[in-house]
């Protein structure tokens, strides 16, 4: 059975009368030891999905799901206390902005040991030993000095390593990495990703890798979920999706990859932006930006359909092998 099962997860913000759906009926599944990539433009609801999983959406945000199960346990049914036992220990998360994710008032040592203290207890010296060990694992030189450092004394890459150490402190079975490298510069990015993938392999963790970077997903992930304006528009195994994207949005994303456009004089871009609260179109949310949009796309909302081969796509006219829309 899948480690994590999500069915029709919806997150709404704003007033009851005029709700804004940041996440709209999202379904996800992830197996033990699997790497799942979630891609989508800025504002497509990736972070909100992750936060909903961690139980971090507060009032006035509203989270509803038909099913939200981790390892057979229903996360929605259980008490807050039970749920907190799982978050942080079995499910951990790394955030987008390392520089603001550490509390400026406390040393890194305190913040790492805190994660251990909540779930594993142990004596102060044990926690210190574990912290040192963790820092070594995430490749931080001179760990004992770093434990005493305050966050403002650390670089972005260093902070992100600390965040990773904190997240893996209690040997989580599922790690959610929300754009772990977006805020870092390019040379550090590769190191952090390598670190994450190594840890994932060593510990056989499931990893949800949220990113804008399709190349990274191609390399690292087993399966991919493409999100647009809060909805899942396409899912499937990585090789197949990269080979034959069925949703026009996925296809456009892939065409925007430099690797794919060798020989072309200009990189392809997708015109327009993800619709926000006030400019949601009727029908398919992509229709103003889709080159294949038809009357039907402007009128009816497409459903997520599962194909015979297990791939899912949300389109009235999915693309065929040649990239032509099929009625």
């Amino acid at each position: 059975m899948a480690l994590l099962q999500i069915k029709n997860l919806t997150v709404e913000f704003g007033s009851e009368k005029k709700p804004f759906r940041a996440v709209d009926q999202v379904c996800l599944e992830i197996e033990k030891g699997e790497v799942l990539g979630i891609v989508g433009e800025s504002g497509s609801g990736k972070s909100v999905t992750a936060k909903a999983l961690m139980g971090l959406i507060d009032w006035p945000g509203r989270v509803v799901a038909e099913k939200l199960e981790f390892d057979g346990q229903d996360l929605q049914e259980m008490s807050d206390k039970q749920r907190r036992k799982i978050t942080g220990r079995d499910i951990a998360m790394i955030f987008q902005e390392p520089m603001t994710s550490l509390n400026p008032c406390f040393t890194t040592g305190f913040q790492i040991a805190e994660a251990l203290k909540i779930h594993e207890g142990g004596s102060r010296s044990e926690r210190r030993m574990r912290s040192l060990e963790l820092l070594e694992q995430v490749g931080i030189p001179d760990p004992s000095a770093r434990l005493k450092a305050f966050p403002h004394q650390l670089s972005g890459g260093m902070s992100q390593r600390i965040m990773i150490a904190m997240a893996i402190a209690c040997n989580p079975r599922l790690l959610i990495a929300d754009e772990p490298t977006t805020a870092l510069d390019v040379t550090i990015q590769a190191q952090i990703i390598d670190l994450l993938l190594n840890l994932q392999k060593q510990r056989q963790m499931a990893l949800i890798l949220i990113t804008h970077d399709l190349a990274l997903v191609a390399e690292a992930a087993h399966r991919i979920v493409v999100m647009y304006a809060g909805q899942v528009v396409e899912t499937g195994p990585v090789p197949e999706i990269f080979e034959t994207p069925r949703h026009p949005y996925t296809a456009a994303l892939l065409e925007a990859l430099p690797e794919r456009s060798i020989g072309a004089t200009r990189l392809k871009t997708i015109p327009g932006v993800v619709p926000g609260q006030f400019d949601r179109p009727t029908g398919c949310l992509l229709n103003p930006r889709c080159e294949f949009a038809t009357e039907r796309c402007r009128r009816d909302i497409p459903l997520l359909q599962t194909d015979a081969d297990g791939r899912q796509v949300r389109c009235h006219t999915p693309l065929d092998r040649e990239g032509k829309p099929q009625p």
């Binding site: 907190r84 951990a92 994710s101 008032c105 403002h152």
Partner: protein, 336 residues
């Protein structure tokens, strides 16, 4: 850290000089010169008038007069009261403990209630609790405290007869002054009922004086807390599996308190202004009432000295808060 200190003190000196200029000109801007004021209705003959002016150094050029005034200040000489013929400094510091006791008690009440109220409002944002706390604190913030004092007297002293109306302690007791704080002195005296009497005299005035700072602190704590609760590190702490109360107490509170401490420090000005009204209503023998009485009695040297001393007090407290702010906030401590 040292240069940080120097910088802060450097900003304060011009302010201090400005305040002395203000108080210096105060007495010269009032219609009629000091000699006439001292003579009052009786009047003086012109010869004696000139003599007295010379005696007080008032016939010298203004700049020189100011220099004398400044050097006098540094020697602790703020002139003598026209009414009591006592040095102003002595009068001020005899009465000051009473004001200090009242203000301290008020600020303790304000912090003890305002902080938790603000935190609870922030955590329960948008709920009934939040609206109640915010509604009450806006009411407190809008309160004419002299009327609030009267209302409390009407209710607790006149209506219920629980608390006395004026003074620091019942006339039955004769307490030796040790610390200048009546509550502590009464306790030390060991006389039966003295402590209760002192406390019951203190309670209403300090509630009145606490009202506005309490409201300000509650509002500030709430908004600061709300801001901090949106920070990434709070989400991270929650993602570790910490319960909301723990996240608030450990991670959010410390960061949220940083601006609140500044605001608490700024309340010293509010307290001093409030003391003038509160002490008048409750006949509390402190510097606020004394200032006002001095104005009524046209005892301008006392008014002048009082304003200067209160201003200095406010400046010093604000400076201390500024420095404390640097100590609490590690980013400032390390970067300067």
């Amino acid at each position: 850290m040292f240069s940080f200190l120097l910088k802060r003190i450097g900003v304060v000196i011009p302010t201090f000089i400005g305040v002395t200029l203000l108080t210096f000109s105060l007495i010269r801007l009032i219609p009629g010169d000091p000699v006439e004021l001292m003579a009052g209705e009786r009047g003086v003959d012109p010869v004696r008038h000139a003599e007295l002016l010379a005696q007080m150094g008032l016939d010298k050029p203004l700049l020189l007069q100011y220099w004398h005034y400044l050097t006098g200040i540094f020697q602790g000489d703020l002139g003598t009261s026209i009414v009591t013929r006592e040095p102003v400094v002595r009068e001020f510091f005899t009465l000051f403990p009473a004001t200090l006791e009242l203000s301290l008690c008020a600020i303790i009440i304000a912090v003890a209630i305002g902080l938790p109220a603000g935190i609870i409002a922030a955590v329960k944002r948008g709920k009934l609790t939040d609206y109640t706390v915010m509604g009450l604190s806006l009411t407190g913030y809008s309160m004419p405290i002299f009327w609030w004092g009267l209302l409390l007297i009407l209710l607790f002293s006149v209506g219920l007869g629980w608390t006395p109306v004026s003074g620091r302690i019942s006339a039955m007791f004769w307490i030796d002054e040790v610390t200048g704080f009546m509550v502590i002195d009464a306790f030390l005296s060991g006389e039966e009922g003295a402590l209760v009497s002192a406390l019951s005299h203190l309670i209403l005035p300090s509630i009145v004086l606490a009202t506005i700072p309490l409201a300000v602190i509650a509002r500030m704590t709430r908004s600061s807390m709300l801001e901090v609760l949106r920070e990434d590190y709070v989400q991270v702490a929650r993602a570790k599996g910490l319960s909301m109360p723990l996240v608030v107490c450990i991670h959010a509170l410390r960061n949220a308190l940083i601006p609140v401490i500044t605001v608490i420090g700024l309340q010293i000005g509010v307290l001093m202004a409030g003391a003038i009204l509160t002490e008048t209503i409750f006949s509390w023998p402190g510097v606020g009432k004394w200032m006002l009485d001095s104005i009524y009695r046209r005892d301008y040297p006392s008014v002048q000295g009082g304003i200067l001393l209160i201003a200095c007090l406010v400046i010093i407290v604000n400076l201390t808060v500024d420095i404390l702010y640097g100590v609490v906030n590690p980013r400032i401590r390390h970067n300067r």
